[in-house]
Subunit: 387 residues, 2 copies
Amino acid sequence: MRFKGHLVAPGPTEVPPDVLLSMAKSVPHHRSDDFIPLFEKVREDLKWLFQTKNDVLILASSGTAAMESAVSNFLKRGDKAIVVRGGKFGERWAEILSVYGCVPVNIDVEWGKAVDPSLVEKALKENPDAKAVYIQASETSTGVKHPFKEVAELVRERDGTIMVVDAITALGVFDVQTDEWGLDIVVGGSQKALMLPPGLAFISVSEKAWKLSETSDLPRYYLDLKKEKKNQLKAQTAYTPAVSLIVGLSKSLEMLKEEGLENIFKRHRILSKGVREGLKAMGLKLLAEDSPSEAVTAAICPEGIDGQKVVKYLREKFKIIIAGGQDRLKGKIFRIAHIGYYDPFDMILTLSAVEMALKDMGYEISLGSGVKRAMEIYWEAMRDGKG
Amino acid sequence: MRFKGHLVAPGPTEVPPDVLLSMAKSVPHHRSDDFIPLFEKVREDLKWLFQTKNDVLILASSGTAAMESAVSNFLKRGDKAIVVRGGKFGERWAEILSVYGCVPVNIDVEWGKAVDPSLVEKALKENPDAKAVYIQASETSTGVKHPFKEVAELVRERDGTIMVVDAITALGVFDVQTDEWGLDIVVGGSQKALMLPPGLAFISVSEKAWKLSETSDLPRYYLDLKKEKKNQLKAQTAYTPAVSLIVGLSKSLEMLKEEGLENIFKRHRILSKGVREGLKAMGLKLLAEDSPSEAVTAAICPEGIDGQKVVKYLREKFKIIIAGGQDRLKGKIFRIAHIGYYDPFDMILTLSAVEMALKDMGYEISLGSGVKRAMEIYWEAMRDGKG
């Protein structure tokens, strides 16, 4: 059987044809009038997405570089910072801090659980000199949503401590109120809800964070945010920007604005609920039962079934790309994304593929049981949404 | 909810990205070396698809023009021809014949049923002067497959009677052995299993048919097949060809050849079976129960549900395009296509959409019942196909 293929991984995600086409038309020169107004518009639209009046800087990099810049531009060698470490990306914050000679104070959270804000409160009390709190809004490796709004409240009133949020799989998925909730630094990436290929990262920086950056002594060159800000305020970039991705970004932001933040959040709520309920109806347990992210759902593999093999089965037999587990979760889970350019039918077909794969791998399942449950969720939601 | 949209109608059908891209690159001039070798290759590949050594002519037109040319190039004013009239496209044969002053001898078949070959045998006996038999291989309006191979056997031995097959939704779907089965004229179109936009038609002509054409006196200019043949043998066309569609055709034939005829037929067999069984598991009756075409399935609407409204619901709520009934079947059926660029997941998502629509329109259905049955069919077929 010839399969068409579907990409249902938590990044890179599917890119809409209109965005692909916009990028295929031409590559304007970045110092030309073909590009500068577009760059200015994109920067304004990003503020809308980040819900902020802060500048949002655009980097030609993956999200990890923006995470690195959120350390190297703000801290000093030897500075302490609280890290919520509940997955692969929490670990990344700690790794970056260590590389720069800073001291991560790790709050280790069981993978699959959200951090308890009181643990952050305790860590802040025990480390009054901590310069920052680093957290994921959505921990992509486990499918957990951390209570970053509650954590931000703890940081807000502290002079000299900034709240840094990796929102790479949260922006354009669920509510991230950068200004209202006092998120000093928010990091995003292109290949997630922004429905673009990889290659762009975004970072918003508050006044409080810029103030802290004045005392920073860590080495940085390409990721020098002050230099970027100076340039980007003049619709330039310090170094050559990823022009075609920014052209695509202009289109994808247009699509998102047309849909509206509330509708975007609602879409992800409904899609993720259908997937979670569908997986449970198949008899599977979810890794992030208590505080699931609307970006991605991680299912725990049944006894005797290797998650990597589920991923491989879907890829090789059906050309459907989902994600496996990373590091300590490798083989133990598989992950279905609902972040970005998806609708209920993408979820239904992905669940049907998972059911067929699991059955073929020996799991006892009545075909259609997960799909049926997801259909019920989507049907109810669509009826409610009638007008 | 923002839906992405799916096209699941029996033509135009979905066009694969690789084909769209091939057509977007450039438009070669049709008398240039950029085009001529490609045109020659396409004509060879069409012979493969038609399973014939006859010439296959390419027309810049919809399929209907090729049907018209299959009358206007072969018959004389006043000629009789047998027409199998079991749907909208059977009627079209009769209409074309009448317009040209020929005399259709109609075998009226209940819409949804296949013709009984013995009726054709009887008509041929009663009309020994009939110059042709006109039939659909796949009657798109009802989803019926006619026994055109058996009918061809009746025509084969008769000097001066040709067998004309509208295979517009049959070519590249199920077996159409032009030479082996003695099909004198076979008509195809681009926007079906060939996975192209509309705008091209194809017609293969046997020696027996060319002989008949010598006595034809019907008026024709644009659709003069003899003139086309003369040109196309030299890799030219009588009039300007639809260049970009032929470029796309080159790509789509490449994809089909890579898959192979047997696999193509098998794919359509499996996809259509899943849809038929899925619809039946929803409690629906099929229009073409006895002799279903693997191109399209027509479901009879339940009591009190208007087929046009099902189509409208899917289009407006889900951006999914299926087809309704035509003429006397309007409102009574809806049709799901499986012809062309589809895989089991397209069918699963379409069935799920139909279930949700029917339920919302008041039909008693346990959501997932049709999808479940289709999944079972696809799962079995895929297991069988392993190795």
